[in-house]
């Protein structure tokens, strides 16, 4: 079965090269998840000018 290649290569890069890279990438990903919460909780677009 065909696999989506992108994440597999990414995964190999992050997890298999060396422990420090894995740790650093982990930190970056952790910060990214924190950012994801910010993006998901952004309020809907305020359209004040549409009313007038």
């Amino acid at each position: 079965m065909a696999e989506d290649k992108q994440p597999a290569t990414l995964e190999n890069f992050i997890l298999k090269k060396n422990p420090w890279l894995a740790l650093t990438m982990g930190i970056i990903f952790g910060a990214f998840f924190h950012y994801v919460i910010f993006r998901l909780s952004l309020p809907t677009e305020p359209f004040i000018y549409a009313a007038f």
Partner: protein, 392 residues
């Protein structure tokens, strides 16, 4: 073939660490102001209308900066909407600069008004917090028929209300709590910011510091979401953007379309009130109108926060009033009186402002030109001096 060793545990540890570090960074940065240079007002690119979700703490921190800068001076917060924000004037010629000049050392003036804000939002919430701390703070906010209609905590600043509330910055006030639950039913701008979502968002911000951190990041480091105001420059940090509003020329009397549009706005708001005084029982709409009007005022400001607060009912461009017939003009003046009466009855210091301004002072229906702003600043400075003397 043997599989290469996997350092997944390091990665997972890193993820937890990264998340915790971000939370810690969010906590550290909470309460710190945005590193703004030459602050005049929160312009389009650093306010929600430009897709920048300025947090309550950032607005409060800006006020605290001024308090620290000018110790001993009473702080005068300019709240309200685009009229007090200074739409029609560039940042350089913003009317609040002239107000500060006129007031000299009497007050330290800070412009926390934002386009689209209701009477008791944003700058008002900052005022409420500082007042509860015992600071020498006053609020000057503007009201017009169109802005009073919405209760506090509706778009575009709904998120800021829940943010301030979650952090315990606001005075406890049951009427405001229950009223905000009804706001979706009454809101003019149909939005999907459900109370539950906004409350969750405020909690996430409080405990994880997500908004605090990433808005600072968006300001200083890099933009990260496409917005119609920044378009292809959306990846740039907001600190690179200047206030886009320019000095606008006075309104062209020959612009019939805009004239008609504005006059219809006046007539629309008059419709809800006039019949009430024509000796008949008030219609459901009229009753609804009055409930909303009173709800948006009493249910936004606890009684113990009303003393240092001045509501200015600003006059619209006289050109639009001239378009009305005699009966409509009379009704309009009557409504203006009712507006003033309503605020006064609720215990707010209420002033009628800009009554003497001419059409040249306006750039459109209600926003002032540079000259209009200066005139407003002069009038307000005079009245504030009298107000201060009376208080002392």
């Amino acid at each position: 073939m043997t599989e290469k060793k996997s350092y997944s545990k390091y990665f997972l540890l890193g993820t937890m660490l990264g998340f915790l570090l971000s939370t810690a960074a969010g906590a550290y940065i909470t309460g710190k102001p945005l590193p703004l240079s030459n602050f005049v007002r929160f312009h389009e690119y650093i306010n929600p209308n430009g897709g920048f979700y300025l947090t309550y703490n950032q607005m409060l921190a800006q006020a605290r900066l001024l308090l620290a800068d000018k110790p001993g001076k009473p702080l005068l917060i300019i709240g309200g909407d685009s009229v007090f924000y200074g739409e029609g004037q560039s940042s350089e010629h913003c009317w609040t600069k002239y107000l500060q000049q006129e007031l000299g050392d009497d007050y330290a003036v800070i412009n926390l008004a934002l386009p689209g804000t209701k009477v008791f939002e944003a700058g008002y919430w900052v005022y409420e917090k500082l007042l509860s701390e015992g600071q020498n703070v006053f609020l000057l906010t503007d009201a017009m028929p169109s802005t009073v209609f919405e209760p506090s905590g509706t778009t575009p600043l709904h998120y800021m209300y829940f943010d301030a509330r979650e952090r315990g910055m606001l005075l406890p006030y049951a009427a405001r709590e229950t009223f905000s639950r009804q706001h979706r039913e009454w809101t003019l701008f149909k939005d999907e910011g459900h109370q539950e979502n906004l409350e969750l968002r405020a909690k996430l911000n409080h405990y994880l510091g997500v908004e605090e951190l990433w808005t600072q990041f968006t300001y200083s480091v890099a933009g990260n979401y496409f917005h119609r105001t920044t378009e292809f420059r959306s990846l740039l940090p907001r600190r690179l953007f200047q206030d886009p509003f320019e000095d606008r020329p006075p309104f062209e009397a020959s612009d019939n379309e805009k004239l008609e549009h504005g006059t219809n706005i006046v007539k629309r708001f008059m419709a809800g009130i006039t019949a009430l005084y024509e000796k008949g029982p008030p219609s459901e709409y009229e009753q609804f109108f009055w409930r909303r009007l009173s709800g948006c005022t009493q249910a936004s400001v606890p009684p113990n926060a009303r003393n240092n607060l001045i509501v200015c009912v600003t006059a619209i461009n006289p050109l639009f009033i001239d378009e009305l017939n005699e009966r409509e003009k009379k009704e309009y003046r009557h409504i203006k009186e009712l507006w003033l009466e309503n605020f006064t009855r609720q215990g707010f210091q209420t002033w009628s402002l800009n009554d003497k301004l001419a059409p040249e002072h306006y750039v459109d229906f209600d926003h002032l030109s540079v000259e209009g702003g200066k005139a407003m600043a002069t009038e307000l400075a005079k009245r504030l001096k009298e107000f201060r003397e009376r208080k002392n």
